[in-house]
Structures are given as structure tokens and as C-alpha cells.
């Protein structure tokens, strides 16, 4: 199960952010307007599990000396619930696990605050909460799924920008929507994370500009896939260390 977020119909109402905070009892942070846009949460973090980005863009016009039009790109970002999740692999306590719904969840009573999952995530999703020292992120409303309900953000979304369901069904819907937009002349529309062979995401997006404009990495990578090669390089270095120590005794042990 996962999310398809169609940013072309997002109206920036932030109902998803609020519904997420309410349902999951996430501490609220109020009064931090950035001054750059209507965004007051800035990024995903320990206390923001859905983040609505507001991107103000000026579109040049044909009219000389005119400022051009403004277009707003709005997009609700969330944990990608990667099908091969680096955070889950590096967690040394087993606090992060894959649920029966295929999603990735942190067990808050097991997390010991080591913080390894934080730089492992290629999307900057996980973060440590200052006051309790634990790592937090979207659970894809694990408790609601268990009760047969959809996640709070998807239910609260008034335009169906956030859709929830089985991933293959969502991908089909996403491809249909992409085709529709392309036919309507919105050439810049593209899917991000829908191609499982590139980088498997349990939450993928329809975007209207490059991913980096939304603060998403253009080419995310499952770094943990190279673990064997990483240990190989360490084994070579360990061998060199042993040889170096032995070599230091050539010419006498004193």
C-alpha cells in the first residue's frame, strides 16, 4: 500500500499537514513563517510528517517590460516508504521495520536515538526530536491501516491530490493522469518515483517541474545496496593495517 501525490491538483490548503498532526499527536510548531513563502514548516522533520511546499515561480511573458506571470507550485511531500529502505537497513536496533502493508515504521519504544537512519535517508525525511532524542517520521498511519481506514492526510485532502491504495493501482492511475495532462498541453508534467526499477518508492509523485525544485533529489540511490563492496574496501584496508604492523618489525623487534 502507498501514496500517489498528484501535485497538479494540490491547492496548498495544508489540510494534510494538520490532519497528520492531529491524528498522530505530532507536536505543533507555530509561528515560524520563513518570509520566503506561505510555508511555515519548511521541510519534513521529526514534527512534520507531511510538508506542503509553496514554490513561487515567475513565468516570462511576451509583453516587453512586464514582470511576467506568477505561478504557484504546491506539493505535499511525505516519507517515500522506499521498497528498499536505507534507513531500515542501517538501523542497529531493529527499531525500523517493514509492516505487513509494505510500509516502513519506527518503533518508538525500541529506537535508541543513535541517529544512523537520518543521514542514510536520501530524501532527508527522518530527524531526531530534540526533547526525546528519538527518530520520527510518517508511519503511513499504521494504526489506521490496521483498522481498515485510509491515512489521515489522504482522507483530509479536499482535491484528491493525495491518493492512497495498492501501489500497482496507483501507478495505473498516475500514468492515466500524466497522459491526460500531456494531452492538455502540460508538457512539464512528470512522474517521480513511479518507476520501480529506478528507485522503488511506496509514495510517488506527479510533479510539474524538476524534482530538485521541490527539494527532492534528482537521482536518489539505494546506497545500502553497495554494502558488500563497502566491507570489501574495509577488509583490504584491514589487511593493509595488519601488513603494516608486521612490516614495522622487519629489521628488529626493538
Amino acid at each position: 500500500m502507498g501514496f500517489f501525490t498528484d501535485t497538479s491538483v494540490c491547492i496548498g490548503c495544508k489540510a494534510c499537514e494538520v490532519a497528520c498532526k492531529e491524528w498522530n499527536d505530532v507536536p505543533d510548531v507555530i509561528g515560524e513563517l520563513t518570509g520566503e513563502s506561505y510555508d511555515n514548516t519548511s521541510s519534513l522533520g521529526a514534527n512534520t510528517w507531511r510538508h506542503v511546499a509553496f514554490i513561487e515561480q515567475r513565468i516570462p511573458t511576451e509583453v516587453p517590460d512586464a514582470d511576467g506571470d506568477v505561478r504557484w507550485l504546491m506539493s505535499s511531500d511525505v516519507c517515500k516508504h522506499c521498497t528498499e529502505a536505507p534507513c531500515l537497513d542501517v538501523c542497529p536496533t531493529g527499531a525500523l521495520f517493514r509492516t505487513e502493508f509494505g510500509t516502513v515504521v519506527v518503533q518508538e519504544d525500541v529506537c535508541n536515538g543513535c541517529g544512523y537512519c537520518i543521514p542514510a535517508c536520501p530524501f532527508g525525511v527522518l530527524d531526531r526530536r530534540e526533547d526525546d532524542g528519538r527518530a520520527w517520521k510518517c508511519t503511513l498511519c499504521y494504526d489506521r491501516l490496521k483498522g481498515g481506514m485510509e491515512p489521515a492526510c489522504a482522507q483530509a485532502c479536499p482535491t484528491d491530490s493525495i491518493q492512497f491504495g495498492p501501489l500497482d493501482e496507483l501507478r495505473e492511475k498516475a500514468n492515466g493522469r500524466l497522459e491526460m495532462l500531456h494531452e492538455a498541453g502540460v508538457e512539464e508534467a512528470r512522474l517521480y518515483g513511479a518507476n520501480e526499477e529506478e528507485y522503488g518508492m511506496g509514495a510517488f509523485f506527479l510533479l510539474l517541474d524538476e524534482p530538485e525544485v521541490y527539494g527532492l533529489p534528482p537521482d536518489p540511490e539505494v546506497v545500502t545496496r553497495k554494502l558488500g563492496r563497502l566491507w570489501g574496501a574495509a577488509a583490504l584496508a584491514a589487511g593493509a593495517l595488519a601488513a603494516g604492523v608486521a612490516a614495522a618489525f622487519i629489521g628488529g623487534g626493538r
Partner: protein, 302 residues
């Protein structure tokens, strides 16, 4: 280079980072130093013991034990919830370098503790060689696994340095172990320690240089600027000068050995700080994530 469009940087959302900065604190580079020192001291102790140099073996054994005792304190202090340290020992997780490292450090502590106790109190003399051997074997991964720990993240300057980082850490560990033993051993019995220290410094400087070259212009940048750059320069200066003093005068004069050894130890510590800080700097600036990945996409023809 980051492009400008409509007067706005296009490489990220309002210039915000794409990945999160690690939350690790000062204990981590110190642990990388103490863990490396302990890890390389154990094989040095074994080699000295086998060659019949008991003075040198004792210095190295105590350095291994000292490092093994300080390291867990540093690690537990860095945890966001230190009272839950025991959760680390809940599982053995081969996909997590931190889990493997915890087990390596614990078993290393046990082995080096028994070896040093046996030496100091003259008990279980027969078991000593066995545990000394175990500590020497475990010391090798202890000195290098931390490079895997860093490289197994999405921080570009750590992940892309995955081939060279273990060499930087292993040679820094060799330099530290040699320098520490040279400080605490009479000069007449410290020749192998001096050779290890000087050789380690040369390898460390060489490996760090190789790492920066292989990273390329963009990703080598964080290692050369701001705090990471200052630590890197300080590391080269201290280690280089220390190796010169220890190598040239350390064989005749104990004071020179102490001064040279101390400089090499400080240099190895600075090198760890440089690598640590470079990771933070590269995570903070979205350029290093986005430009590097754009380039990768271009190479893939996407």
C-alpha cells in the same frame, strides 16, 4: 554550477538541504580516534609479544585497553537516549555497520581487557596469548568499520569516498598506535612503534590526498573548505611535523619521542574531525547532492 532561473536557485527548495545533516555530536570523531588507536594497538601488542619485546607489548596492550574503555562511554554519550543503549544488543544485524561495530567493540573490549589484566597482574599467562590474538584480529575491523559506517549513508562526500575512506582510517589508526606506543615505551625498545607511526602518517596523508582526487572537483570541495578544510590542513601539518621529529630524533631522545608522538596523535584526531565535518558541510548545502546527482543522470543518459 547551480542555475538561476527567475531569480531563484533551481537546485533546491528555497536553498534548503535535500538530505538531513547528521545529528551526531563531538563524541563521534573522538570515538573514531580512540577506536582506531585501540584497534591498531592490539595487533602491535601481539607482534611485539611474539618478537619478545615485552615493554613495547605492554604499552600497546594498555593503549588497546584504554581505547576500548573510553570508546563505549563516548558512544553512549552521543546517543539521543543513552538509557536505551541496551537496545543495541537486542539484535545482530549484518546490514547495519553500527550493529556489527557494537559487537566488534564489545568483544574487542573483553579480549583486550583480559590480555591487559593478565599482563599487569600476572594471571592466566597461557590464556593471554589467546586473548591477545583475538584482540589483534578484532582490532583490524575496529579500526576500519567506522569508514563503512560513514560510507553507508546518503551523504555524498562520505558515500562517494567509500573506496579510500577505510584506508584513511586504517593508516590513521596505525599512526596513532605507533605514536602512542612510542610515547610510553623507552626509546631503546620502541623502534617498531616509531616505524609504524612514521609509515602510518605517510599512508594517511597519501590516502587522504587520493580520496580527494578520486572525489573530483565538486565533492572534494567540502573537505577543503570551512572547518573540514582547517582540520585537514592542521592534520597534515601536525602529522607531518610529528613524523619528522619522531623519525629523526625519537630514537635518541625520549622528549623528542613524546613530542613527536603527541603531534602525530593530534594529527590523526584532526583528520577524523576533517572527515566528520566535511560530511556535515556537504549535507547542509544542497549543491553537493543535487549537482552530483544531475551529473549522474546525465551520464546514464536520462
Amino acid at each position: 554550477m547551480s542555475e538561476e532561473r527567475n531569480g531563484r536557485r533551481t537546485d533546491s527548495y528555497y536553498g534548503r538541504p535535500v538530505i538531513k545533516e547528521p545529528v551526531w555530536t563531538w563524541e563521534i570523531p573522538w570515538y573514531f580516534f580512540t577506536g582506531g588507536l585501540a584497534g591498531a594497538s592490539a595487533p602491535l601488542a601481539l607482534a611485539a609479544d611474539l618478537s619478545g619485546n615485552q615493554r613495547l607489548a605492554r604499552s600497546a596492550r594498555l593503549a588497546a585497553l584504554g581505547g576500548a574503555m573510553v570508546s563505549p562511554v563516548l558512544l553512549i554519550s552521543d546517543l539521543g537516549r543513552p538509557e536505551r543503549f541496551l537496545n543495541m544488543l537486542r539484535v545482530v544485524k549484518p546490514t547495519s555497520p553500527m550493529s556489527i561495530g557494537t559487537w566488534v567493540l564489545s568483544s574487542f573490549g573483553l579480549s583486550s581487557g583480559i590480555a591487559a589484566t593478565s599482563d599487569v597482574f600476572g594471571v592466566f599467562p597461557r590464556a593471554r596469548t589467546l586473548f591477545e590474538g583475538a584482540a589483534a584480529l578484532l582490532g583490524l575491523p575496529l579500526a576500519t568499520y567506522t569508514a563503512v559506517l560513514f560510507a553507508d549513508t546518503s551523504v555524498p562526500v562520505w558515500h562517494e569516498a567509500r573506496k579510500e575512506l577505510p584506508l584513511v582510517f586504517a593508516s590513521g589508526a596505525a599512526a596513532s598506535a605507533g605514536a602512542c606506543a612510542a610515547v610510553f615505551t623507552p626509546v631503546g625498545e620502541a623502534a617498531p612503534a616509531r616505524r609504524l607511526a612514521v609509515g602510518g602518517v605517510l599512508a594517511e596523508i597519501g590516502a587522504a590526498e587520493l580520496m580527494k582526487r578520486r572525489l573530483g572537483r565538486l565533492l572534494a570541495e567540502p573537505y577543503e573548505k570551512e572547518e573540514a578544510g582547517r582540520y585537514s590542513k592542521l592534520a597534515t601539518t601536525l602529522s607531518g611535523a610529528g613524523a619528522a621529529v619522531l623519525g629523526l630524533a625519537g630514537g635518541k631522545n625520549r622528549a623528542a619521542a613524546v613530542a613527536g608522538g603527541a603531534m602525530i596523535l593530534a594529527g590523526a584526531l584532526c583528520e577524523r574531525w576533517s572527515v566528520y565535518k566535511a560530511g556535515f558541510q556537504s549535507a547542509r548545502d544542497p549543491r553537493y547532492t543535487v549537482e552530483h546527482q544531475r551529473e549522474r543522470r546525465r551520464r546514464k543518459g536520462l
